[in-house]
Symmetry: C2
Subunit: 204 residues, 2 copies
């Protein structure tokens, strides 16, 4: 009952072709930009004609969705590889730096995951759930230092994506920005230490 070996070989080949298409798509997207993915070029890159792609993906957006899933999974994997020191604060800093590093090392992937830049595209709920799971890891790191306010998580990712965005569009060189990441982590941790669950403060 464990699957016909011939059908398996079929499915295996199909899956291999899908992977080949996605690899080529990543390559195009990294060199031409996220919006530079043209189906005719993509098809030629894997040795077929444009309409043939529709045997493997329902639409161009379906290709983006599959790439989104790959990207989100890559972050999950990266998160799990961060060494834990036992000190919650150090681990939080490591998590933030990892997050921003992940974002900046591949601008196209960052744009796909964290910006709504492709006109009609929204990731599938199942696909989006993978990304949510990744941010859950960051949330856990915050919980490690006693911060459970959901606003804090939002603020953390906001800082992360904000820095990434500035970095990508303004600073090709990047020496200055990596230190900026440190400053942001520092600042965030200081704030969190000062007010673990920040109450509303009267200002005037």
């Amino acid at each position: 009952m464990l699957g016909n070996p011939i059908r398996d070989r079929r499915a295996e080949r199909r899956e291999a072709t899908r992977a080949e298409i996605l690899d080529a798509a990543w390559e195009m997207v990294r060199s031409e930009g996220l919006a530079g993915l043209a189906l005719r070029d993509l098809a030629r890159k894997v040795g077929m004609q444009a309409p043939s792609l529709y045997s493997y993906f329902d639409s161009k957006h379906a290709i983006y969705d599959a790439m989104f899933a790959q990207g989100a999974r890559a972050y999950l994997e990266r998160e799990s590889l961060i060494p834990t020191t036992g000190d919650a604060l150090t681990d939080l800093r490591a998590g933030l730096r990892s997050f921003i590093g992940f974002c900046t090392e591949d601008p196209a992937r960052y744009q796909l995951l964290f910006q709504r830049t492709i006109p009609g595209f929204e990731p599938t709920p199942e696909t989006f759930a993978i990304a949510v799971a990744g941010l859950e890891r960051l949330k856990d790191r915050l919980a490690g230092i006693g911060v459970t306010d959901p606003r804090s998580v939002d603020l953390l990712t906001a800082i992360g994506t904000g820095i990434t965005d500035q970095q990508i569009s303004n600073d090709p060189g990047g020496g200055r920005w990596s230190r900026l990441v440190d400053d942001a982590a520092e600042m965030f941790c200081n704030h969190m230490n000062a007010t673990p669950n920040p109450p509303r403060r009267n200002r005037k």
Copy 2:
């Protein structure tokens, strides 16, 4: 020598039509999204055919550029309207809140100004200079509390755009986010107070 009155009327009419086109473009962009601007629809909206637009703008990107300039000027104007209290810290907070308010009140404008989301589009140097002048105002506010490190300005705008981005894509309602802005300003000011020109700190 002060310009033929007839030529002036010509130029005046031309400028009025340009403005009408841009107004219609903003309307389309706000309802259909930044990428939803179709020249044929835009032309019909102002009572002409698509190619006629090329009498007023060299290309679609030129329209985006003009819109960028309008948006940047709008920020400059808004900045100049913030009441100054004399307390530099309060003024800085007001500046940050104004910045984020400006970004969030019109997502399409924010996307045009602060994200590189239109495939081939880069603002003209002159146009971009307007936006730079706007951020210069924020820099002045930082200088007001004794912070001159350019990294701090980058960090401030990074936090601003990051929060805006999260807010736009995640939170249509928005009650939670407006308080988040306060927290961010608070956090930023605390950090800046602690380390006006933040030195590298040994951590371990």
